[in-house]
């Protein structure tokens, strides 16, 4: 019975692993991607290098803070990104990604009467699915941020549209709406409408969230 399942699973796995990659949280083969995601309570910077068309290794630094400022964390980790599956259609593309990391988490909890500091090992496995055409965009991501007695799992949904199609070498503006939540750091869902500008060289987003806080993201491949 086990071997029958294996006979089915192995070819599927081979198919998933056979697709080359770019787009999303890594660049093309033998390129570096730098990315930043910044607001008052979440500041993440990472850089990775595509060692194959579908795999990238990198390092990341993240600062996390609770809405009420009672908790703060810094996480430095090594990361691995892999394209699990890609679908190419004439005017659309969809991708399924794995992103994961392992690293050092330092934290401070401001409790009544005392502050508690800690150092722990954190792991951050997650998946991301995205679908886009030249006019619409959708992305769903879920990533675990786990250490002993710590759960800051992160979930985000993004959807948006472009105001018009652009030539390859022109900048294209988009309106993107994101809803995200960080478990254990925020009780609410953060909603951020953003203006995205994208061309062949850079990708930037800027907006203001439902707490009236600024948000800025960028990606750059070199």
């Amino acid at each position: 019975m086990f071997y029958q399942h294996l006979k089915v699973a192995l070819p599927l796995l081979a198919m998933l692993l056979s697709q080359p990659a770019t787009a999303g949280p890594m660049g093309f083969d033998e390129s570096f991607m730098a990315m930043g995601d910044f607001n008052n309570n979440w500041r993440e910077s990472f850089i990775n290098y595509a060692i194959t068309p579908r795999d990238a290794l990198g390092v990341s630094a993240t600062y996390m803070r609770a809405d009420d400022k009672s908790k703060s964390r810094t996480l430095e980790e090594v990361t691995y990104t892999r394209l699990l599956k890609r679908w190419n259609a004439p005017h659309a593309q969809a991708n399924l990604w794995f992103q994961g990391g392992i690293g050092a988490l330092q934290g401070e909890d401001k409790l009544v009467g005392e502050n508690r500091d800690f150092d722990k090992v954190m792991i951050t496995p997650g998946v991301q699915f995205d679908y886009e055409t030249t006019r619409i965009y959708f992305q769903a991501a879920h990533r675990l941020y786990r250490a002993t007695d710590i759960n800051h799992d992160y979930t985000s949904l993004r959807a948006g549209f472009s105001f018009y199609e652009s030539d390859y070498d022109k900048t294209q503006p988009w309106l993107i709406l994101e809803a995200r939540n960080m478990n254990g750091l925020s009780e609410k869902i953060e909603i951020t409408p953003m203006l995205r500008l994208i061309n062949k060289n850079f990708f930037v987003e800027a907006g203001v969230n439902n707490s009236r806080e600024p948000r800025f993201n960028f990606m750059y491949i070199f």
Partner: protein, 114 residues
Amino acid sequence: MKKLLLTTIVAATLFSQAAFATQTIKANVNGMVCAFCAQGIEKKMRALTQTKDVYVNLKQRIVAVELKDGQTLSNDKVKAIIKDAGYDVTSIEVSEHPVAHIKAELESKAEAKK
């Protein structure tokens, strides 16, 4: 003798023109919906020693690679680069027009459709 010399000169000129006629490999590609994502195709193509110019058109789903005079590049190599960049080639052909001509032709077609 003069006729032979003249014939030789004309033949040499025609031969050299034929040998160094513009050659552009033109591929139809699926999945190219984002310039930031498709930059890998252009960069990898431009890195080839045979490449004179590259044109990417997202709307028409075209990647065109113009070769330097006297250079050759196989269709399979172009397909492999595009596939490694994360896209699928649905058809590929060789054109005797330079990238500038292909670009002008596609842009005038797009204008005519408006």
